[in-house]
């Protein structure tokens, strides 16, 4: 029996919000540890399969692991798929030696974490990535969601972070790739491998200043040819692509951040199909004075 006092387990805490793939990252890591003959324990809180619900997964591995829960302040590596969730768990890290890997993408949390008093400021964490990285031993803050969007699919941001995580652990890269292949749907293997590599490259290309978080702006207003305005509230847009594909004039598109924008104002007729079918109320057609169209 290994002595956990002399050879303590490695503690990896993976956090994010519902739907981001926290569990997938922890499962890949756990499977990899198992492949290397290590004992591994994984414990998680999830179950509200919605955007915004706080999700976290403890992965502990080593020669012998007893407790499934990482003791407070003993997290070796904190992987945050969402910025504020990363900040929420900073305290869980080893103060000096911990490694912090986070996506700077912000998903504004749901009503559960908002102050509803009128005029209250958004409760979203104001800390800049640079300020946060100064608080941790080793830190990587990358806009993984933008990297994933560049590969054509924002859903694989978790794989980008998995790639970054792989550089912080002593397992050979071939093992990661082989496990990853097994875990993703067959038709997404190629893009996931690209995302994984992009995450590795980001870390290995050397230290660089923390990327500024891609904070969605309030509203972006574009003036269309016929005098009306198309207002897109970026903080509410989730990039579902409905407005883009349903626009009869095909004048919208998703920008490099995966958010809707009016690409061809001249073609916009103000028909409001985009407004009607936006499930997130992010699109409004306003008249020339900025009022809702009458």
């Amino acid at each position: 029996m290994a002595d956990t006092e002399t050879s303590p387990p490695t503690n990896v805490l993976i956090v994010g919000v519902g739907g981001q793939g926290v569990i997938m990252v922890s499962k890949v890591l756990a499977a990899l540890c198992q492949l290397h003959g290590l004992q591994v324990k994984q414990s998680e809180v999830h179950g509200m399969a919605k955007r915004g619900g706080s999700v976290f997964s403890h992965v502990r591995f080593g020669a012998q692991v007893w407790s499934p829960i990482i003791p407070h302040g003993e997290t070796d590596i904190l992987v945050a798929l969402e910025w504020s969730e990363g900040l929420r768990w900073l305290d869980a890290m080893r103060r000096d030696s911990g490694t912090f890997i986070a996506d700077t993408q912000q998903i504004v949390p749901p009503i559960a974490f908002r102050d509803r008093r009128p005029g209250a400021r958004s409760g979203y964490a104001p800390q800049s990535p640079a300020a946060v990285l100064e608080m941790v031993g080793t830190g990587f803050a990358l806009d993984a969601t933008r990297v994933a969007a560049g590969l054509g699919n924002t859903r694989i941001a978790n794989t980008v972070l998995l790639g970054a995580l792989s550089t912080a652990l002593p397992f050979p890269v071939e093992g990661w790739i082989s496990v990853l292949r097994d875990f993703v749907p067959p038709h997404t293997v190629a893009v996931n491998l690209k995302a994984f590599q992009a995450g590795r490259d980001w870390v290995e290309s050397g230290s660089r200043p923390a990327e500024e978080a891609a904070r969605p702006a309030g509203a972006r207003v574009a003036v269309a040819a016929r005098g009306h305005r198309l207002e897109i509230t970026e903080a509410w847009c989730k990039g579902c692509d409905i407005c883009v594909k349903m626009c009869p004039e095909r004048c919208l598109r998703l920008d490099e951040r995966g958010l809707a924008e009016l690409a061809n104002p001249a073609a916009c007729t103000g028909c409001r199909v985009c407004e009607w079918l936006c499930p997130d109320f992010a699109v409004r057609v306003l008249d020339g004075l900025g009022q809702p169209v009458a």
Binding site: R114, R116, K238, G239, C240, D241, K245, M246, P279
Partner: protein, 277 residues
């Protein structure tokens, strides 16, 4: 159906804007159905103070919290029961129930059939996304045959409920089905339901892109929403003229009207007839 006429409806006047963005997944049709409801409320001129929205549990149950009205998030399957008490106690309120396919047809099925039978004045909007989304994608009473869900890994072998047929058979005053893709038509349908003095049941065909769509490889949100149309047959088109080979397609539009006495009025009348003034 409405033409694409413009009006002064701005949904933000009916939302708790400080709670947005809402927490539905990208591409979830529930937000579109909510727009249809609030647009209909706007057109009917219902003041927000007089609007009472009663929801159950599940993704549909969380929709109500975004409405700037008197909103109640009750227990799983029971919003119709809560709403029955509320509507009887406060006939001055406009009572709207928002429920889902699991909430309304499975755990709450008994309440639905008796709400239809009783015909108390309220409007029930059932958001049908064919799945239990909140709990991670389990099979529901409306999940299509052969569909993959977390609890039908070999494909769904259970037949589906036709919620509107059920509501009509149980005697609902007004029954209709619409889809989020055709927002103005859905809005008009809900408006008729609000106007009907009795129990109105409206099924909105919504979608679950992130869970149901992914599990069944249905593609992106716009693809899923566009596909809604192929399974639907506008009732006004008649039975076989439009799609002779799609006898099983679901009918949309106003599917049932039954001008029976509204229960609250009937109760008061029965009492008045027996109690001397």
């Amino acid at each position: 159906m409405d033409t694409l006429s413009l009006d002064t409806f701005d949904i933000r006047a009916y939302l708790r804007e400080d709670l947005l963005p809402h927490f539905m997944c990208p591409g979830c049709g529930h937000g579109i159905a909510l727009r249809a409801l609030l647009w209909a409320v706007h057109e009917r001129g219902i003041p927000k103070d007089r609007l009472a929205v009663v929801c159950g549990i599940g993704c549909s149950g969380r929709v109500g919290a975004y409405i700037d009205a008197n909103t109640y998030h009750t227990t799983h399957g029971r919003p119709l029961a809560f709403a029955t008490g509320l509507a009887l106690a406060r006939p001055d309120l406009e009572v709207v129930v928002i429920t889902g396919d699991g909430d309304c047809l499975a755990i709450g099925g008994n309440h639905l059939i008796h709400a239809c039978r009783r015909n108390l004045n309220m409007t029930c909007l059932m958001l049908n996304n064919e799945i239990y989304g909140m709990t991670g994608g389990q099979v529901s009473p409306t999940t299509g045959g052969g569909r993959l869900t977390s609890t039908t890994p070999y494909g769904n072998a259970e037949p589906t409920f036709d919620a509107c047929a059920l509501a009509i058979a149980a005697g609902a005053g007004f029954v209709g089905r619409g889809m989020t893709l055709q927002l103005p038509a859905l809005k008009t349908l809900i408006g008729e339901g609000l106007a009907h003095p009795g129990f109105s049941f409206i099924e909105a065909i919504s979608d679950c892109t992130e869970i149901f769509g992914r599990k069944n490889d249905l593609g992106s949100a716009p693809e899923i929403i566009l596909r809604q149309k192929s399974g639907m047959r506008p009732d006004t088109y008649g039975n076989i003229v439009d799609r002779p080979f799609q006898a099983k397609a679901m009918r949309i539009g106003v599917l049932g009207r039954n001008d029976r006495p509204e229960y609250g009025a009937a109760y008061r009348a029965a009492v008045a007839a027996r109690i001397a003034p």
